[in-house]
């Protein structure tokens, strides 16, 4: 074989036609056959010579690949002018073509339009050379985190004996010398599976799974390795879904943030740079849903605002200044006249969640101005329905948050006129709210006011589940089941986490569970508009341990058109004790639940007629 090669080396000479062709290309017309032969031999020899010199440059360049610059240098060595501008980075730039019974290889030179080059954006600047140190410690456990060693500072103890056995193919633990990067560990297969399951469940259509997943995130102690991935998942998710106005997914993602924050074993500080922008986006974004006039994106804003307040409380330090930076951001957006009502609402919500002090110093002084603006919309010529709704929400938000603060600021007698003088348009309403707040404060001295619960199953899914007839076999009403993270049942007068506002139908991720199998008790019905029929995901009945219940109960009939005020009854029981009782409840159409909450805000909102009707198209 070697011999063969050698002989080939000996005999390779360029064909004489090539000579002719090249002669033609430089304008020499008739080249005699003899000269062609002589030339081709000479040229072949010289080319080999050049190639051999070029190899030298390759060796000294410590490369395995010959480059065009090596050829250039070899030419230079022979006192020949190198070929300027001929560079090819990676591949042999020859194109292949066959024709006339012959194979041709040619170098394709495209015509380049200079203006194209000028107009194309500049490519990314190539990274500069950098130095990275890796330590091969003489230890067998190469996976252990290695210490960065600076030369001259190594300890004597770092050197240990090492057996011959560990010599081959040792994996090196790589580490940066000075800047330690945010460590993203390789995940084990199990962790990858877990991560996949969790993220799918969190954004999937099965509420039971979601609740389970969220609880896992909130309580599992071993998640720190996945934290970078979760935070990226959330920030990327928000980025994408804000553009697509996918309210449902945004809500799910925010709930993930909440769960992460609730986990006592996670340290989120390092990931705030990803999480906080996502949260802020959900608070102030101009548009969060496809139909701003009907969808309840306000609840998302409220929820995100509370998250923000919570993270400010937890993570704000003098060095990162989160709270003041966030406050500044909100205030700036709010003060801008051109800000839309949605953003305005978000800013106010974000600010007011930050506490009474913030309300006192930043919101109350602006009540009058804001009142005027609201008045202009409410009483002026109707500009658009959306503006009106926005103004309406802003108004109620302001009243809600300011009332208690004002109640503390001002002495007891609340005079309507005085309020009007102080706060303008909002004065009278504020006055009545303050009066109410004072009364309530006296009454609810010991009401626990915690924010957890998350059920506001809006009507549409209900009506759909009926009209679609899914779960018909299961009983008159399909109970939706939501697992509440803690076994406590909490109530809150505040709007709880919105779970499923009329979702844009296209965005559902259907989990890998059988659809339509309504025989099991836990059926979650979601609307899916393309199919016209609800997509039903079934939780395998084996998982009976998670059977806390949420029952939906409507005051009147559940006829789609009648729009009665709905009561959302939330039951969450420890699985062990409740299994029997929950079954009982299921039997009856109207169950008497241990705790009944009427979320006033929710019902209020659901009054706008179009909001929750499920439209298949």
């Amino acid at each position: 074989m070697a011999e063969e090669r050698r002989q080939k080396q000996c005999s390779v000479v360029l064909p004489t036609e090539s000579m002719k062709a090249m002669a033609e290309s430089v304008g020499v017309g008739q080249l005699q056959e003899d000269s062609c032969v002589a030339l081709s031999e000479e040229v072949s020899y010289r080319i080999k010579e050049i190639a051999q010199d070029a190899l030298k440059f390759m060796h000294h360049g410590k490369r395995r690949k010959l480059t065009t610059s090596d050829i250039d240098h070899a030419l230079k060595l022979k006192n020949v002018e190198p070929l300027y501008g001929f560079q090819s980075q990676e591949f042999i730039p020859f194109r292949f073509a066959s024709g006339g019974g012959r194979e041709l290889h040619f170098y394709e030179e495209k015509e380049v339009d200079l203006s194209d080059i000028i107009n194309t954006p500049l490519p990314r600047v190539p990274l500069d050379v950098s130095l990275k140190a890796t330590k091969e410690q003489q230890k067998k456990e190469s996976t252990e985190p290695l210490k960065a060693v600076k030369p001259g500072q190594e300890e004597e103890g770092s050197i240990q004996a090492k057996g011959q056995s560990a010599t081959s193919a040792e994996v090196k633990g790589k580490e940066k010398l000075r800047m330690k990067p945010r460590s993203t560990h390789e995940l084990s297969v199990e962790q990858q599976l877990y991560y996949k399951e969790i993220t799918e469940a969190c954004v999937g259509s099965c509420e039971a799974k979601r609740a389970e997943a969220l609880q896992s995130i909130a309580t599992d102690p071993g998640l720190y390795q996945m934290l970078p991935r979760f935070s990226t998942f959330i920030s990327e998710g928000v980025r994408v879904n804000v553009v697509q106005n996918n309210l449902a997914l945004l809500i799910y993602l925010m709930r993930m943030v909440k769960a992460l924050m609730d986990n006592p074993t996670l340290y989120l500080e390092k990931y705030l740079h990803e999480l906080l922008p996502a949260v802020v986006t959900c608070i102030v974004s101009k548009q969060l849903c496809l139909r701003p006039d009907v969808d309840n994106h306000w609840a998302l804003r409220d929820f995100a605002a509370r998250l923000m307040a919570q993270s400010c409380k937890t993570f704000s330090t003098t060095t990162n200044n989160i709270q003041s930076r966030i406050t500044k951001t909100f205030t700036k957006a709010w003060l801008d006249d051109k800000t839309q009502w949605t953003t305005r609402y978000g800013c106010i919500a974000g600010l007011s969640e930050l506490g009474a002090d913030v309300i006192k110093t930043l919101i109350i002084p602006r009540l009058a101005v804001e009142g005027a603006r609201i008045k202009a919309v409410m009483e002026g010529p109707v500009v658009s329905n959306i503006d009106k709704i926005g103004a309406d929400h802003v108004q109620s938000l302001l009243l809600k948050h300011c009332a208690s603060v004002v109640a503390k600021m001002r002495p007891a007698p609340d005079v309507m006129e005085q309020y009007r003088a102080d706060f303008g348009y909002l004065g009278p309403m504020l006055c009545s709210h303050v009066v109410k707040a004072r009364a309530q404060a006296a009454l609810q001295a010991q009401t626990v006011n915690r924010t957890t619960l998350t059920i506001t199953q809006p009507r549409p899914s209900l009506s759909v589940s009926q009209s679609g007839g899914v779960g018909g076999s299961g009983g008159p009403r399909t109970p939706s089941i939501i697992k509440v993270p803690s076994s406590l049942t909490l109530m809150s007068t505040r709007p709880a986490t919105p779970t499923q506002p009329s979702p844009p139908a296209t965005k559902y991720i259907v989990m890998a569970t059988s659809a339509g199998a309504a025989s099991t008790q836990q059926v979650i019905t979601l609307s899916s508009s393309q199919s016209g029929s609800p997509v039903t995901s079934t939780v395998p009945s084996g998982s009976t341990s998670l059977q806390p219940l949420v029952k939906l109960e409507s005051g009147g009939g559940t006829v789609a058109g009648s729009r009665p005020l709905q009561k959302y009854i939330v039951v969450s029981l420890p699985s062990s004790s409740s299994s029997s009782s929950s079954l009982e409840h299921k039997g009856g159409t109207t169950a008497t639940s241990p705790v009944t909450i009427e979320t006033s805000v929710k019902s209020e909102r659901s009054e706008s007629p179009a909001t929750h009707t499920h439209s298949p198209h």
Partner: protein, 652 residues
């Protein structure tokens, strides 16, 4: 027009293929014009004595009989006793080359081709590179300016043959009246006849492979003072310092440093060491003394390495260099790294927290209080502090970098033919030493500073002093590019490795070549002296590392294991471990102590020079460490025997 184009592209392809045949599969060369080559052939090269040299070939024999002659000799050699056959087989290659060249020279092109095709396969595989050159050479005109050819001509090919074998050969040739071959042997070969047992095949193989045969015996007879120089009176401050330091710290370690420093260095004059002033060396400055003291202190904390205690390795990976890293050097105290790049830049990094700072400008310097204690600190411009600095000046890839021992200077050698001296105080170029007109492949500072050596494509190694713009010595003798240069630890000798597959040791004092080592089968790309100055290790493109005894001028070991060019070699500070780094992405550690120990006991080999190498590479190999995709191009042991390695990550 399109057809023309395609033709010319076809031609390009052919060339690409011919290059491929040369052994680099993925190379992506291409040529866009042939005019250049035509010019080239007309221009030729101005080698002065080409015609004179070549005229030796003018004698005519019957070209058609060359094959007969050669195969006749082949038959004869194959028929002789085994013990002679191996020795006489050495004749094949030089005879083949010279007969072929004679045919070419006398314009018997087709015969030459046939001759080559018939017999080139018989040659030893390690001559393949040269055969490749020969294969392209088919015309008399080609012979002008061909360097490889000139090498064959200007130097006689050296063969070592025992007297018995030689007599056998002579008798045969005389019987057959085979004058053609006899003439070649007489004129172009140098047969070094020795008395005694003929050598075995393996003995011959281990020594052959160089471009011009083995080294002549007398070439390695000169005395080499390989001992180390006595360390001048630094110990006094060292001991003082140490005692002070120890007293502060407490007593327990008090005796140790003394013992070490006394024991290892300069108790009495080493009989093998050169005279202290054989080569004038620069006076030690105060800062040098301080540095020596630091060195001693560090040395006391050194780990003693051995097969049981291997060094930890810290790998410095250069990222984003796009295959552009061509040379690396560390300072002796491992505080700085310099890299030479294909884009003509030299970059210096500080690997300690101490940043690199420039000296202030002259105007600013005049404002400084020169009497103050921290004047050295004050002259530095804090604004310029950074982790790395880039030195611009070269106009071609930088193939060699070397720090001065005092860390004030940096040398770099480049394709542009210059060696540049850079100040690491101002980060500017101080001198460009011009002398090599061709690429300078390597350069290195003397271990005592002041002198440096450089070698390059012009086959001449030059010795320079930093304050002279012309070389002090020129070491000429290599038949190929000088690919690497190293100073002996006592600064009296310089070793050069070459593309002619030999290593030469030169005496700095008089410029003589005192050792020629043959045995490598490929260009030598790395050299390393053992810290005690007795031994030399060399690595080449064939992936083997050879060990040499300088005093006796012998090959004493062969370390097989690497599968690609060995670009880096380094002995540990105490000389027990030899580390080698290669293009095959590994660092290997070898038991140097054992390798030297095994051989030293054998007296016979020392006397005759016919070593019999034990094949014990596997026993000597202590460890192999793989990188992911980073060829190892430099190795360095810190003063405490931590191994530092460097290379650039290669994403393909």
């Amino acid at each position: 027009w399109l057809r023309c184009r395609n033709h010319s592209e076809w031609f390009d392809y052919e060339m690409a293929r011919s290059v491929k045949c040369c052994g680099c599969r993925q190379c992506n060369i291409s040529f866009s014009s042939i005019v250049l080559f035509i010019v080239l052939s007309v221009g030729g090269e101005d080698q002065p004595d080409v015609s004179v040299v070549l005229s030796a070939y003018s004698q005519q024999g019957d070209p058609s009989l060359y094959q007969v002659y050669y195969s006749g000799l082949k038959k004869f050699i194959e028929s002789v006793l085994d013990c002679h056959r191996a020795e006489l087989s050495q004749l094949f290659y030089p005879l083949f080359v010279h007969m072929y060249l004679e045919l070419v020279y006398n314009n018997h092109e087709s015969e030459a081709k046939a001759f080559f095709e018939k017999f080139s396969g018989d040659q030893e595989c390690y001559y393949q590179d040269d055969l490749r050159v020969l294969s392209g050479l088919t015309k008399k005109e080609h012979m002008k300016g061909n360097e490889t050819l000139l090498d064959f001509r200007t130097s006689k090919f050296v063969l070592r043959i025992s007297r018995d074998s030689y007599q056998l050969l002579k008798r045969h040739l005389q019987e057959r009246q085979n004058n053609q071959i006899w003439n070649i042997i007489q004129e172009h070969l140098y047969i070094d006849i020795f008395d005694g047992m003929p050598r075995s095949k393996s003995q011959i193989d281990s020594m052959s492979g160089s471009l011009a045969g083995e080294a002549r015996r007398e070439a390695n007879k000169a005395k080499v003072f390989y001992g180390l120089l006595k360390e001048p009176e630094i110990e006094v401050p060292l001991d003082d310092e140490d005692e002070e330091a120890e007293n502060e710290e407490g007593k327990p370690k008090k005796k140790k440093p003394k013992k070490d420093s006394m024991g290892s260095k300069s108790k009495k004059q080493d009989p093998n060491a050169p005279q202290q002033n054989r080569i004038p060396l620069p006076e030690l400055k105060d800062s040098d003394k301080l540095d020596k003291i630091m060195y001693m202190k560090e040395a006391t904390k050194r780990i003693r390495l051995g097969p049981e205690t291997l060094p930890s390795i810290c790998f410095y990976t250069f990222l984003n260099v796009y295959q552009g890293l061509t040379a690396v050097d560390f300072t002796d105290d491992s505080s700085l790294i310099a890299g030479g790049f294909a884009d003509s830049t030299v970059r210096v990094w500080s690997v300690t927290p101490k940043k690199l700072r420039k000296v202030k400008s002259a105007a600013d310097l005049s404002l400084i209080d020169k009497e103050s204690d921290d004047v050295l600190e004050r002259i530095m411009d804090e604004k310029t502090a950074s982790e790395s600095k880039i030195l611009y000046g070269h106009s071609g890839p930088v193939y060699g970098v070397s720090f001065s021992p005092d860390r004030n200077y940096l040398l770099s050698s480049s394709e542009d033919g210059t060696v540049r001296l850079w100040s690491l105080q101002t980060f500017t170029c101080l001198v460009a030493y011009k002398g090599h007109n061709y690429p300078v492949w390597d350069t290195q500072f003397s271990p005592y500073g002041y002198y440096f050596v450089s070698g390059g494509h012009d086959r001449v190694a030059r010795l320079w002093a930093t304050d002279h713009y012309q070389p002090l010595r020129m070491f000429a003798g290599h038949l190929g590019d000088i690919t690497c240069t190293r100073f002996h630890p006592n600064s009296n000798y310089v070793a050069t490795g070459s593309a002619d597959r030999t290593i030469r040791l030169w005496d700095v004092l008089n410029g003589h070549c005192v050792r020629v080592f043959t045995g490598h089968k490929g260009p030598i790309h790395s050299l390393a002296f053992s810290p005690n100055g007795k031994y030399l290790a060399s690595g080449s493109t064939d992936g083997r590392v050879l060990l040499w005894d300088l005093g006796h001028g012998l090959m004493i070991g062969e370390l097989k294991g690497h599968t690609d060019t060995v670009y880096a070699l380094k002995f540990s500070r105490d000389g027990e471990i030899l580390a080698s780094g290669s293009m095959d992405n590994t660092v290997r550690l070898w038991d140097a102590f054992k390798a030297f120990d095994d051989v030293e006991t054998d007296d016979f080999t020392a006397a005759t020079g016919h070593i019999h190498l034990p094949d014990n590479s596997q026993e000597l190999l202590l460890g192999t460490y793989l990188t992911k995709a980073t060829p190892v191009i430099h190795l360095h042991f810190t003063r405490r025997n931590l191994l530092l390695a460097a290379g650039s990550y290669n994403s393909q």
